[in-house]
Symmetry: C2
């Protein structure tokens, strides 16, 4: 919970009673490895802040799971397209490790906005940040080659590589698992990395 | 300008002096057909509200322009990934018709947030809306077939079809212009549309 309070405090100074309210509104929830934070075709009714663990986002296309994003400690987990619009989700979010998540419902998030002074500013700034990251991820999905995607993953989220199974990384790059080692070799070769 | 004030007033009631401030902060600008609102490799330093006309968003990949979005009257125009992060833009935005746009700089937008009461809430809500739409567009780019993309364009933004040159629509669908008429026929066939 302290992680979340520190995260919010970067954006707005919190009074003691506001910290208490936040601690009540965000409820600690455990997700065992393999549990779903969100399942396809359901509405995403909650926003989570990850205290520990990694979550994987994927969609199913032609019977195949396509991994397109990861969230880990100190980041929010949510499928905003569904959460903000209350439409059914086209994606699933699944725990890749045992996770501790501080979860807030849509209604309680409204209470947060109404009762914490400056919360709208925090909401705007943090959604701006998530927005920029999501757009970056999605453009990369469409415009970057698997090698470019791997290079970015190494540069920007290198610590995740040791924690995520190879076949999920391959799916994230849009290649078969057997192609992944070829890409790793190319990246590791002198003059390229 | 009245369009913009009405748009904002949907989210927050405006005092007279706030309307005046907004009218000063957003500056009317004309873009002739073909003019650029934003060019690739430059930083997007402004946000626009379109009073009249259509703008096209595209990226260049392997020497080819790939159109991925349109904005028209009563909508904002901006490449948020660059605007919010102040990083160079990977996209260009070009006027498809003569356009009237009410433009605000990043600095003036900060003044808007500071001086108009409730503006952060407006900012949060409108960015949420843009976020949902952008994610929808980008997922569609990756996951939908050209036919599905055409069908969605017909259903959701059918009025644009008459105003946008066919080769831009083909690019938006990710097909060659000669394939577009085949798609139109399939959509128009009974039992499909």
């Amino acid at each position: 919970m302290q992680l979340l309070l520190s995260y919010i405090a970067q954006y707005l100074p919190l009074q003691q009673h506001e910290e208490e309210l936040i601690s009540q509104l965000f409820k600690k929830q455990l997700f065992k490895k393999g549990d779903f934070f969100l399942e396809e075709e359901k509405v995403c009714t909650k926003l989570g802040f990850i205290g520990q663990g990694i979550m994987r986002y994927y969609m199913t296309k032609d019977g195949e799971e396509k991994t397109f994003a990861f969230s880990r400690e100190n980041e929010f987990v949510c499928f905003y397209q569904s959460f903000l619009s209350a439409n059914k989700s086209s994606a699933s979010i699944q725990a890749l490790e045992d996770c501790i998540v501080y979860v807030i419902s849509r209604d309680d998030l409204q209470r947060f906005y109404e009762q914490v002074s400056g919360a709208d500013k925090f909401g705007r700034l943090s959604i701006e940040q998530v927005f920029v990251q999501t757009i970056k991820d999605l453009y990369s999905l469409y415009f970057d080659s698997p090698i470019e995607r791997y290079q970015k993953l190494v540069n920007e989220r290198g610590d995740l590589l040791q924690r995520i199974p190879q076949y999920h990384i391959a799916s994230y790059l849009g290649v078969k698992p057997q192609s992944l080692s070829r890409i790793r070799k190319r990246i590791a070769a002198p003059g390229i990395s």
